[in-house]
């Protein structure tokens, strides 16, 4: 009996490399390359009057200095609008190097190339840019007020406005016995991967090929964009993603200016050029996310049933809108959560500000939507004096109501239809896991010790596995090694492990014989990217269907060799054999040899595939019609729409009576991502996501002053949690398979982060009895709120 790998806690094969310092990251190559550095704007909004580079001439080792005036062709044009949308009426994208105007602190103006980074930085320091400062638009309030404009030709600073509606929310609210209004804010944050961005380019003049290594979440996206902008054939550009030290969304933005400029400079200088982002650059030039202001009106009955929900919110897109309005669309469409809405209306406006551009950061609009929905549920419960879990329970979509159609359009342009789930089971599991019903005793015991504790919960539904497609290439080599390629990239998720598990099962081989490559356009030129919790769903199913193709092919060839019918064959431990007759078999390695009819043998084993080796049917061509040589198949998986994972979190917090410092005592997670390929890796994703969620609730925020200076642009001031400050998530899995893909998978990558702010806000509110409507929250803010905030009646 062959081993079943799918569903097993197979250890991550990446870890040996990554944990022993032998990974190969962007900066591990190109040591002899010329280095680039950038002169970036110190102003949030300014006109560029003059650029004086004369001072750089005195720096030995300087190679080149480029301004916008040097850029030619499409390199001088605004970077691509990645995701156009009919309601994105005023899209604006940046120039690779700013020309007349800068729109945020950190916008690149001059590119300096030198023999090494030190020299490049020295030269960059000596370049003097003369600015005429303009009024800066910072924050949603200023953008809405529109006293000043970020872009002169964008009225009201509005990139776009859109509305979606299910039923008639306004009428439902008007007719509801009870109504509430809430104002809810989430502040700005950023991904902060351990490894920043980086690009290394080499122009091979002899072969006419551009070779790019970039720390990205989409190798094929970068390739298509750079080839198009530089006027090169796609096939003349190779993009290889090395090991990537975290992305969390910010690296799906592409092409960043540097991803165009470094290859462009490499071609122009006919030399290898490399740029590696430093931490300050990451703060001021890698994309941010999260900042939104929401106004909520909800109508409900005396039982807590939601009758109508209307949300208007404002999204801060920063200086430009390359990602369109996808983020607020995700908030708008994921806000309903697991609840049975009949009347829901959402309107949002995406606003320009003189701050770093916003694109998805793990969670991507969902933490905000979850915060809005879950804070609303808590307020409904509070208003009615009903237990918060009970109010939620009364509103949950029931298992027999799937597929549940919201009659809205999701971020992939497809219908917002929940495919499957079991939300009541999730709630019950969470209540048991965290001891929800026993918490009054916990609270009382703590109070007796003079301690203040509270509990909160939050639920979410996450559309995962968005299309359009991914591909898989599975190839059994003549040595029996199975090589698998998929085009999306890896930032530490464990793709090499889980895709190997899938292929091993499909082909009947040992998982250690399967070797996975990701993010290399030479191996898989068609792909989309790693974002939106889609890799396992899309590439997982793609490698599965490709492996099934290989299996089918192998059985046909083996059937011929074994003189048996294909349907009588099976593959076990890498050997194709006749079912019930293990002795009659042929290893896949030999099948691979036979799959490629040879004129010339290259090894002893390969002799079997040469023309005189075996008698052949004279009327059948060596490669029959509809067949291809080689035991390999490339195939693709595409999906009609996203599959919706779900989960519920609960947090127990303690608030220091004097300092208002918040400690998360317990954090419980119930998680349903469909069938689990590898429970250990899913748990890893949850632990990481929870860490980011807790950090986003209590620590991490990007702080701009009124002039648009990013005042905490370092790890001294932007607070990330230590492991010791984080709770260990207690995890329960549910498995509701998706009907939308062969493996029944739903995505798991972002889930852990989504309910963090919502459930910790609820727990703090429960502990201290003051309204929490804005996250993240610092001890000093909580301390102030505690003194003057709106009191909340104690929960039952």
């Amino acid at each position: 009996m062959t081993t079943k790998w799918f569903g097993q806690r197979v250890e991550r094969r990446e870890d040996q490399r990554l944990l022993t310092g032998t990974g190969s990251f962007l900066d591990d190559a190109g040591h002899d390359a010329l280095a680039a550095a950038f002169v970036r704007s110190p102003h949030a909004h300014a006109r560029i009057i003059d650029i004086d580079v004369a001072g750089a001439l005195d720096v030995d080792g300087l190679v080149a200095v480029y301004t916008w005036a040097d850029l030619d062709g499409r390199v001088a044009e605004p970077l691509p609008l990645l995701i156009p949308h009919p309601d994105l009426t005023h899209p604006r994208t940046q120039l690779a190097l700013a020309h007349h105007e800068v729109n945020h602190v950190g916008e690149a103006i001059v590119m300096v190339v030198a023999v090494d980074r030190y020299v490049a930085e020295d030269a960059a320091e000596r370049i003097v840019v003369d600015y005429e400062p303009l009024p800066a638009v910072v924050g949603i309030d200023a953008a809405r007020a529109a006293q000043h404009l970020v872009h002169d030709d964008v009225p009201a600073n509005a990139a776009g406005t859109t509305t979606q509606e299910l039923g008639d929310a306004r009428a439902a609210i008007a007719a509801a016995p009870r109504t509430l209004e809430l104002e809810l804010w989430i502040e700005r944050s950023l991904s902060s991967p351990l490894e920043g961005r980086g690009v290394h380019a080499r122009w091979d003049r002899a072969d006419g090929r551009l070779h790019i290594r970039t720390s990205t979440q989409t190798a094929t996206g970068v390739r298509a964009a750079v080839a198009s902008i530089l006027g090169l054939a796609d096939v003349a550009v190779d993009v290889v993603t090395p090991d990537v030290g975290g992305g969390f969304g910010t690296k799906v933005m592409h092409p960043y200016p540097e991803e165009v400029l470094v290859p462009w400079a490499a071609m122009r200088l006919d030399a290898e050029v490399k740029w590696v982002e430093d931490r300050y650059e990451h703060f001021v030039s890698a994309t941010h996310e999260r900042a939104q202001q929401h106004h909520v009106r909800v109508g409900f009955d005396d039982d807590g049933t939601i009758l109508g929900l209307e949300v208007e919110f404002f999204h801060d897109t920063g200086a430009y809108s390359p990602y369109g309005i996808v983020l607020p669309i995700i908030t708008a469409t994921q806000l309903p959560g697991p609840y049975r809405h009949r009347n829901y209306r959402v309107t949002f406006t995406s606003l320009y500000t003189n701050t770093v551009t916003c694109t998805p950061y793990r969670g991507a609009g969902r933490p905000q939507g979850c915060f809005v929905m879950e804070r609303t549920m808590d307020r409904v419960a509070e208003t009615l004096g009903i237990d918060r879990a009970e109010v939620r329970r009364r509103n949950l979509i029931q298992p027999d109501e799937f597929p549940y159609d919201f009659q809205m359009t999701f971020q992939d342009g497809r219908p917002l239809i929940y495919d499957s789930g079991n939300y009541p089971a999730a709630l019950e599991t969470l209540r048991d896991l965290v001891g929800w019903d026993d918490f009054p005793a916990v609270r009382a015991a703590a109070a007796a010790e003079g301690r203040t504790v509270g509990i909160g919960m939050a639920a979410y539904v996450e559309g995962t596995g968005v299309g359009p497609y991914e591909g898989g290439h599975v190839h059994v080599e003549t040595n029996g090694r199975v090589v698998v390629a998929t085009g999306l990239t890896s930032q530490g998720q464990g793709h090499e492990t889980v895709f190997a598990q899938i292929v091993a099962d499909e082909l009947g081989v040992h998982v250690d014989d399967v070797h996975v490559t990701t993010g290399d356009t030479r191996r898989m030129p068609y792909a989309v990217g790693t974002y939106a919790s889609r890799a396992a769903v899309m590439s997982g199913n793609a490698v599965a269907v490709a492996a099934r193709g290989v299996r089918e092919k192998a059985l046909l060839i083996a059937a011929d060799a074994l003189e048996a019918a294909p349907e009588d064959l099976d593959i076990v431990d890498g050997v194709v054999h006749v079912r019930g007759t293990p002795s009659r078999g042929i290893p896949l390695s030999q099948v691979a040899v036979l799959s490629n009819p040879l004129r010339y043998a290259f090894s002893k084993e390969a002799q079997a595939a040469t023309q005189f080796a075996t008698p052949a049917d004279p009327d059948v061509a060596p490669v029959p019609e509809d067949a291809e040589p080689g035991l390999e198949v490339r195939d693709y998986f595409s999906t009609v729409r996203s599959t919706f994972a779900s989960g519920m979190h609960a947090a127990v917090v303690e608030v220091d009576p004097e300092t208002a410092a918040v400690t998360v005592l317990r954090y419980a997670v119930v998680h349903d991502c469909g069938t689990l390929i590898n429970p250990m890796l899913v748990e890893g994703q949850i632990h990481g996501g929870v860490a980011q969620g807790v950090a986003g609730a209590l620590l991490e925020r990007v702080a701009y002053d009124e002039a648009g200076n990013l005042v905490n642009a370092s790890f001294m001031d932007f607070l990330m949690p230590y492991l010791t400050e984080l709770p260990t998530a207690e995890i329960a899995h549910l498995e509701t398979p998706s009907p939308l893909n062969p493996l029944g998978i739903k995505g798991a990558g972002e889930a852990g982060v989504i309910p963090g702010s919502a459930c910790i806000a609820a727990a703090i509110e429960d502990a201290v009895g003051v309204r929490i409507d804005r996250m993240p929250i610092s001890p000093s803010e909580l301390w102030t709120l505690r003194g003057m905030g709106e009191a909340v009646p104690p929960c039952t």
């Binding site: 650029i51 004086d52 580079v53 004369a54 750089a56 001439l57 005195d58 030995d60 080792g61 300087l62 190679v63 080149a64 200095v65 480029y66 301004t67 005036a69 040097d70 001059v110 030198a114 023999v115 020299v119 122009r268 200088l269 006919d270």
Partner: protein, 195 residues
Amino acid sequence: MHLTFPVRAPAEAWAALADPAQVAAALAGATAVACAEGGGMRLAVEVAIASVRGPWTGTVTPVDEHAVRVVGAGDVGSLDLVVRADADRTRLAVDGSVGGPLAAIGEALLDAAVRRTATDLLAALGARAVGPAEAPADPVPVATPVAAAPPGTAPTATVPAGAGRGRHRATLVLAALGGLAVGVVFGRRAPSSRR
């Protein structure tokens, strides 16, 4: 390249541009400066702008009484520029094309190098002209044959100083522009490398 910038130099500096010996002494990187037949100059310079370093040879020939054309090539790249002074010699305009490695270093940097070299050259010539007398001869051989000069082209002596008053003035301007073009076009002397 399309560049204009202000210049200011004493008359003596402009006059000194007529003297290849002085130009050779004042121009960073000059290895040979010689008069060419027809009133122009032939030049050899070790160029050093940013990391673009190497020899360049070319000619400076009059276009009209306010402009010269500079044409030449070397490891550092090719140049074909017209350098034009305004009537009162307070502005210079440089127009033309740059090819090869020099063309890859960035327009602003090249402009800055041109501007600085012109300014430095005029300043150096001015200092030589009005400052303390410099007794020893310059180390740069004025009449040394230019390496890349076409076969059969004999090296010429320095520009004859004064053959008719009006003629002399025009020659001076041209020579000045020619000399200046040398400065305009080529960068500072190579500093010691860090690596």
